[in-house]
C-alpha cells in the first residue's frame, strides 16, 4: 500500500473562540503549517452606509456606535467632525474637552480589551479579568456621562449631548491615577514573561514598506517604526494643545504591536492628566446648530486616529437633510487585508497570535 499525504482544509470560524467575532478563515494546513489562508468576512454586515442614506445626520450617530463597538466614542466623533467641517460649526470649549476626555478614555478601554483578549489567545487567563476590571471603571464613567455602557450615542453635531455630572472629573482623575500604577503591574505580570516573549517576538513581522503598501494604520503601522499618528500629524479636536509622544516599534512583529499599544495607554493617560487639569469649569456643551442639519452641496473627507488606526468619514451632500453618500474608512477592514500574507508558513498557534495582534473588531470589518 502506498501512503499518500494531502493538505488539510480547515475552516476556522465563523464560530471560533479566537476569531474575535464572526470572522471566518479558510486555511490549508500541511500538518500544522498554514500553506494558504483566506479570510471570509461579511457575517456581521448590516449595511450601515446604505442605511445612512435614508437617515438624517443625527439619526446616523447611533449606527456609528455599532461599527467599532469596542470604541464607539471615536466613531461618534468622526461623523460629527465631518458634518461640522462641512457646515463650519464651532464647537464650544467645554464640549471639545468632554469629547477629548471621552475619546482618550475610550482608547484606554479599547486597548485594555485588546490586551486581555490577546493574552487569552496566548493562553493566559488572568490578564483578561484584570483588564476587564479596569475597563469596567471606564464603562462606569461613561455610564454616568451618557447612560450607556457600550453604545453611547454621546456626541452630537455641534457638541455633546450631556454635560459631565457633579464630581465626574474628579472620578476620572482618580481613575487616571489608579490606572497608571495598574499599567506597571500589567507590565510586571506579562511583558517580561519568557513564555510570552517567545510566543510573540519575531512572529508575524513585516517592514514599513509592506505596511504602507497594504494601507495599514494605527499600531499596526507604528510597530514598524513609522511615526504617523493623526493626533500629532493632522491634529483634530484639541489634540494640538497637549504634550504626548507617539510610541513606535522597530521590528514590526507581534511584540512591537503589543508594546506600542501598551505605551499608547500610558500616553493617553498623559493626555488625560493635562486635559483634566485644563478642563473649563463651566460653559456650553452645544454650539449654535440650525434646527435641521443640511450641509451645503459638496463633499468632505475627514480622518481621525481611532484605537485601531485611521478612521475616515467621507460624506457627499446634495444639500438635503440626509447624506447622498456616506462612506467610512474602517481601519479594521483595511488592516485585516495583510493577514493572508502573514499567515503563510506559520503554524496554527501563530495564526491565533498574528490575528490577535492585528486587533480587529468584526463590527467594523463588516460595516
Amino acid at each position: 500500500m502506498t501512503t499518500r499525504t494531502e493538505e488539510l482544509l480547515l475552516n476556522v470560524g465563523p464560530q471560533h473562540p479566537s476569531t474575535h467575532g464572526v470572522l471566518r478563515i479558510v486555511v490549508k494546513l500541511d500538518g500544522e503549517i498554514v500553506t494558504e489562508a483566506e479570510p471570509v468576512t461579511g457575517y456581521l454586515h448590516r449595511g450601515t452606509e446604505k442605511l445612512a442614506e435614508s437617515l438624517n445626520y443625527t439619526q446616523i450617530i447611533p449606527y456609528t456606535d455599532r461599527m467599532d463597538y469596542v470604541s464607539a466614542m471615536t466613531n461618534n466623533y468622526v461623523l460629527c467632525y465631518a458634518v461640522e467641517k462641512m457646515m463650519g460649526i464651532e464647537v464650544p470649549e467645554r464640549a471639545q474637552f468632554l469629547r477629548l476626555i471621552a475619546m482618550e478614555l475610550q482608547r484606554i478601554a479599547s486597548h485594555l480589551v485588546w490586551w486581555g483578549t490577546y493574552l487569552l489567545d496566548i493562553g493566559a487567563l488572568s490578564p483578561f479579568l484584570f483588564a476587564f476590571n479596569d475597563r469596567e471603571r471606564i464603562l462606569q464613567l461613561f455610564n454616568e456621562l451618557c447612560g450607556a455602557r457600550l453604545t453611547y450615542n454621546y456626541m452630537r453635531i455641534g457638541g455633546v449631548k450631556w454635560d459631565a455630572p457633579e464630581g465626574w472629573i474628579d472620578r476620572v482623575k482618580q481613575f487616571v491615577k489608579d490606572m497608571k500604577s495598574h499599567l506597571d503591574e500589567y507590565h510586571n505580570l506579562v511583558s517580561g514573561n519568557e513564555i510570552f516573549l517567545s510566543r510573540v517576538k519575531g512572529v508575524g513581522a513585516y517592514d514599513a514598506r509592506t505596511a504602507i503598501e497594504y494601507g495599514l494604520s494605527g499600531p499596526n503601522l507604528r510597530c514598524t517604526g513609522v511615526k504617523w499618528d493623526l493626533r500629532k500629524n493632522e491634529p483634530y479636536c484639541i489634540y494640538d494643545r497637549f504634550e504626548f509622544d507617539v510610541p513606535v516599534g522597530k521590528n514590526g512583529d507581534c511584540y512591537d504591536r503589543y508594546y506600542v499599544r501598551m505605551e499608547e495607554i500610558r500616553q493617553s493617560l498623559r493626555i488625560l492628566e493635562q486635559a483634566l487639569e485644563q478642563f473649563p469649569p463651566e460653559g456650553e456643551t452645544m454650539g449654535k446648530v440650525p434646527r435641521v442639519i443640511r450641509p451645503p452641496v459638496g463633499e468632505v473627507f475627514v480622518r481621525i486616529e481611532s484605537p485601531r488606526g485611521e478612521l475616515g468619514c467621507y460624506i457627499v451632500s446634495r444639500g438635503k437633510a440626509e447624506p447622498y453618500r456616506l462612506k467610512f474608512r474602517r481601519p479594521s477592514f483595511v488592516n485585516l487585508q495583510i493577514l493572508p500574507k502573514l499567515l503563510v508558513g506559520e503554524s496554527m498557534t501563530n495564526l491565533v497570535t498574528i490575528l490577535g495582534s492585528i486587533d480587529i473588531v468584526l463590527g467594523e470589518v463588516d460595516g
Binding site: L8, L10, H16, P17, S18, E32, L119, L120, D121, I122, G123, A124, L125, S126, L129, F130, N133, L189, V190, N193, I195, F196, S198, R199, S347, M348, T349, N350, L351, V352
Partner: protein
C-alpha cells in the same frame, strides 16, 4: 494490605481487595470534586472574582451539580465518528489513571499494593492514557480533534522521557523503585529529603509533570484559543466527564508522586514538629503541590507547539542526564544515598 497479597486468593481477600479499591475510588472522587472547586476558588481569588458561591454553602456543591448535569446529558455520538473507538477512548483514559493509584503509599503502613517497581508501574500505565487521547482525536472525525490528539500524542510521549530520567537520580540514591522504600530513604527532616541533592531532577520532574498533565503552560492539546477544545471537542455528557476525571486523577497521582519522590513523603520537616502525625504532613505537601499547579495556571501563558518539543528534547532531557551524572558522582565521591 501486604498480608493479604501474600495469602492465596480466597473469597475473603477478594472481598477485601474490592473494598479497598472502592475506598480508594471514593477518596479520589471526593478529591476530584473538591479539587475542581478549589481550583475555581483559587483562580477566582487570584482574578478578583468570587468563584462558585451559589450551589450549597460557599458553593461547595457546585461540582456535584456540574457532574449531575454531565451525567444527565444526552449521549451524543457524531454520525461520522468511529463508533467503537469513540466509546472506547474515555474508558481507556480513565482506567489507567485510576489503576496507578494502587501503588501510592500515604503512610508507613497505608498502601494498597506494595509493588517493587512502583514508579515503573506508574510510568507504564500512565502511558496508556496517551493512546486514549490519540484514539479520541482520531475517532471523533473532527479536524480540530485530530490536531489536538496528534499534539497530545507527541507531547506526552516526549515528556515521558525527561519525566522518567529525572527520577533515575532518586532511584540511584535509594537503590529501589519501590515508593515506600524511597520515602524511607528520606527518613529525617527537610535537609534529608531528595529535593535538595536532586534539585535539578526536581525541577525537570515538575516541568515534565505539568506537561504530562496537559496543564498550563503546556495545555496545548486542549488549547482552547486555537483548537477549540482539542481532542475532546466532540465529547459531551459522561464521556467528557471521564476525560475530565482522568485529568484530575492524574493531578492527584502526580501530586502524590512529587511528595513521595522529592518531598519526603510523610516525614515532618523539622524535629520540633514530630508530634504531628505523618498523614497530615503528607496531605499538606500534597495540597501545596496541587495549589502550585493552580497558581501556575492563573499566571502563565501557553507555549507554542514547536517550542514545547524543543524544550523537552533540547533542555529537559540533557538536564536530566546531567542530573544522573551529578548523582553518580555524588554517590561515588561524596557518599550520597545509603
Amino acid at each position: 494490605m501486604q498480608r493479604y497479597w501474600d495469602e492465596p486468593l480466597s473469597w475473603t481477600n477478594a472481598g477485601i481487595f474490592t473494598l479497598g479499591a472502592v475506598a480508594v475510588l471514593a477518596v479520589v472522587i471526593v478529591f476530584v470534586t473538591y479539587a475542581i472547586y478549589f481550583e475555581r476558588k483559587v483562580i477566582g481569588w487570584m482574578q478578583f472574582r468570587k468563584g462558585p458561591n451559589r450551589v450549597g454553602p460557599f458553593g461547595l456543591l457546585q461540582t456535584v451539580a456540574d457532574v449531575a448535569k454531565l451525567l444527565l446529558k444526552e449521549d451524543v455520538i457524531p454520525a461520522k465518528a468511529d463508533r467503537a473507538l469513540f466509546i472506547l477512548a474515555p474508558a481507556l483514559a480513565f482506567v489507567p489513571s485510576f489503576a496507578v493509584l494502587a501503588i501510592i503509599p500515604y503512610g508507613m503502613n497505608l498502601q494498597f499494593a506494595d509493588v517493587n517497581v512502583g514508579f515503573l508501574y506508574y510510568v507504564a500505565l500512565s502511558g496508556v492514557t496517551t493512546i486514549s487521547v490519540v484514539i479520541a482525536g482520531w475517532a471523533s472525525n473532527n479536524k480540530y480533534a485530530l490536531l489536538g490528539g496528534m499534539r497530545s500524542g507527541a507531547q506526552m510521549i516526549s515528556y515521558e522521557v525527561p519525566l522518567v530520567l529525572s527520577v533515575v537520580g532518586v532511584a540511584m540514591m535509594t537503590g529501589s523503585l519501590n515508593l515506600r522504600e524511597i520515602v524511607q530513604a528520606q527518613e529525617g527532616y527537610f535537609w534529608n529529603w531528595n529535593f535538595l541533592p536532586q534539585i535539578i531532577g526536581f525541577g525537570v520532574f515538575i516541568v515534565s509533570a505539568l506537561a504530562e498533565l496537559n496543564r498550563t503552560p503546556f495545555d496545548l492539546p486542549e488549547a482552547e484559543s486555537e483548537l477549540v477544545a482539542g481532542y475532546h471537542v466532540e465529547y459531551s455528557g459522561f464521556r467528557f466527564a471521564f476525560f475530565m476525571l482522568a485529568e484530575y486523577v492524574y493531578l492527584y497521582a502526580i501530586a502524590c508522586l512529587t511528595t513521595l519522590l522529592f518531598l519526603g513523603g510523610w516525614n515532618p520537616p523539622l524535629p520540633q514538629l514530630d508530634f504531628i502525625p505523618g498523614i497530615v504532613w503528607f496531605i499538606l505537601k500534597f495540597l501545596f503541590i496541587v495549589f502550585s499547579v493552580f497558581w501556575i495556571r492563573a499566571t502563565f501563558p501557553r507555549l507554542r507547539v514547536d517550542q514545547l518539543m524543543g524544550m523537552a528534547w533540547k533542555v529537559l532531557v540533557p538536564l536530566a542526564i546531567l542530573n544522573i551524572l551529578v548523582t553518580a558522582a555524588g554517590i561515588q565521591w561524596f557518599g550520597w544515598g545509603g
